[in-house]
Amino acid sequence: MPGRVRKDPLRKPDRPYLALGLEGSANKFGAGVIKHFEDGSTAVLSNIRHTYITPPGEGFQPRDTALHHREWALKVINDCLTKADVSMHDLDCICYTKGPGMGAPLQSVALVARTLSLLFNKPLVGVNHCVGHIEMGREITGAQNPVVLYVSGGNTQVIAYSRQCYRIFGETLDIAIGNCLDRFARVINLSNDPAPGYNIEQEAKKGKRLLALPYTTKGMDVSFSGILTSVEAYTFDKRFRANGQPQNSNDEDIITPADLCFSLQETIYAMLVEITERAMAHIGSKEVLIVGGVGSNERLQEMMGIMAQERGGKVFATDERFCIDNGIMIAQAGLLSFRMGFETPLSESTCTQRFRTDEVHVAWRA
């Protein structure tokens, strides 16, 4: 609430703290080392990631993704420590993603974290993936008390902080935005390298024709499944040209894959900006922070920027290093809660596919 400034319960550290963060809730394995200094400042010592990329038309299966993470874990962690120039012995804690995410990949990373914890006798900190995104976004951008739009392959939420909790004001009622994009990329056979959403964005720049798609916001919630069905249906329309080219010089009334990418982006991002704006009006905030993999989309950032400007506010976004799943965000959120005295005992160092953002006790904020 405006006007009432309470002091953060988090005190400045009496010595520097170091944490390793491990992330693998989806198709990226990431490791990062973060350092918190006595003066309250923070340094990213390293942030390394390896992405499991599947051929066009294919999504990533849990089993294969877990296999990828197991294969790459040690190499990525080693690189990360070398880059940071720290040894495992220097760490104060090992932070890992407890959830939400895909079961098998989460488990393989939790296993790595547990093993390292036992080998080097370091405490474990289980971290909520979404809270990781939010805390890293706040740290990088310096946003004070923003409304957070969290958009990724598995999540679509509008979040705002309230009384030691990241409250979810709006969210998807069915599939996540990234899931919608990924699945559509498969329909039109776009490459998954570097990311399906990135390729949709490039394709959309060539689109001209705005096709009607369902626009489904309900209060501060959104729904994407109907849009996915409708945009897919256009690929069966007799005007659809899969190669994007007219069949002859008279072939003017056509729909191209680029048009579909354009229409899809214009529609779903407008929905997201709308519910974000509603949340901002609701809590009286002028700041908005975009986190999550889809947050690296430039059109989304541009639209959010226009909205924020019209409201006399400001948009904060991070680049792909911090937007897309990474280890450093897990280290950051984990270290914050570690400094408040939180640890995850070995016996409880499980992971969970379902883990709501608002279940986390945000002890480090006032």
């Binding site: 609430m1 405006p2 006007g3 009432r4 809730s25 959830g99 939400p100 995410g101 895909m102 598995g154 999540n155 979810i168 969210e171 009622l173 705005l210 009607a212 626009y215 309900k218 209060g219 214009e266 529609t267 407008a270 900006v273 709308e274 704006e277 509603r278 901002m280 009006a281 609701h282 009286g284 541009e302 639209m303 959010m304 226009i306 909205m307 019209e310 596919q353 379902r354 883990f355 709501r356």
Partner: protein, 262 residues
């Protein structure tokens, strides 16, 4: 021969009342006739971030949707403001101007817009009691009126979508001729901007749950208040209540949101 928008010209001479995320609200007069009563103009202004074609069709659809919900309520005998003018192309809806106060302002805790006005609590509660006296109505009767209007609305399969005590008004006795034997005021439901048509038990239960949350976050010791709202709702709804009441209990347990998959 389309000319610069008359609705925008009208807005330029009107008084801005409030600005939300969706729309700006004005007090206006549709004509220069001295006998013309004021109207409330709701302008869904253009959103620069949205593709113009999409923006135009959404705005048109929403103005139409709000107007249809209001008419549906009017036909069903729900107290809502009458419609005075629709300019869907420009995103403008004009409805009757209601003289009175929002229920939020008339109940304890609702007078202070934000928490930090520095007003002391007792004082605002006393203000609220005074205000109700002006309307010659007890808190309990007010709660009954709320329950009745929501029940009538739900019986017409209209879901409000944003039930709060800010979105209900009491007509001021001085500006309203009541035909009720004992009441000098009338409860009016307003702001149907998020409303939709549904006959689902789930949607009605969530509508009530949203109001319950609004009560508890705005008004201290709201439990007995909301209980009497529900009691009047139940009476008016009759046999349809059982299913909605059961669902409301479920919604309370899980919250408005369903459980999240990773």
């Amino acid at each position: 021969m389309a000319s610069p928008s008359s609705s925008l010209a009208l807005i330029s001479t009107s008084t801005l009342i409030s600005q939300g995320a969706e729309a700006k609200v004005y007090k206006a007069h549709l004509s220069a006739a001295p006998s013309d009563p004021p109207v409330l103009l709701k302008h869904r202004f253009r959103k620069g971030y949205r593709h113009p074609t999409l923006d135009a069709s959404l705005t048109r659809g929403r103005v139409a949707g709000e107007a249809r919900a209001l008419l549906k309520c009017l036909r069903a005998g729900v107290n809502v403001p009458g419609i005075r003018m629709v300019d869907a192309a420009e995103g403008v809806l004009a409805i009757d101007w209601i003289t009175g106060n929002s229920v939020r302002k008339l109940l304890p805790g609702g007078a202070d817009e934000d928490e930090d006005t520095g007003e002391d609590e007792d004082e605002s509660e006393a203000d609220a009691a005074d205000a109700l006296q002006e309307y010659d109505i007890s808190v309990d009767v007010l709660m009954q009126l709320i329950g009745q209007e929501i029940a009538k609305m739900h019986l017409a399969d209209v879901i409000h979508g944003d039930l709060t005590t800010s979105n209900m008004m009491l007509r001021h006795p001085a500006s309203f001729t009541s035909r009720h034997p004992t009441l000098r005021t009338e409860l009016v439901l307003i702001d149907f901007g998020l409303s939709y048509h549904s006959n689902l038990v789930e949607d009605k239960a969530v509508d009530l749950y949203v109001l319950e949350r609004a009560f508890s976050s705005t008004h201290p010791d709201s439990e007995p208040l909301f209980a009497s709202v529900l009691k009047a709702y139940e009476q008016r709804l009759g046999k349809e209540w059982a299913a909605i009441g059961r669902r409301l209990d479920e919604v309370r347990l899980r919250g408005r949101k369903r459980s999240m998959v990773g």
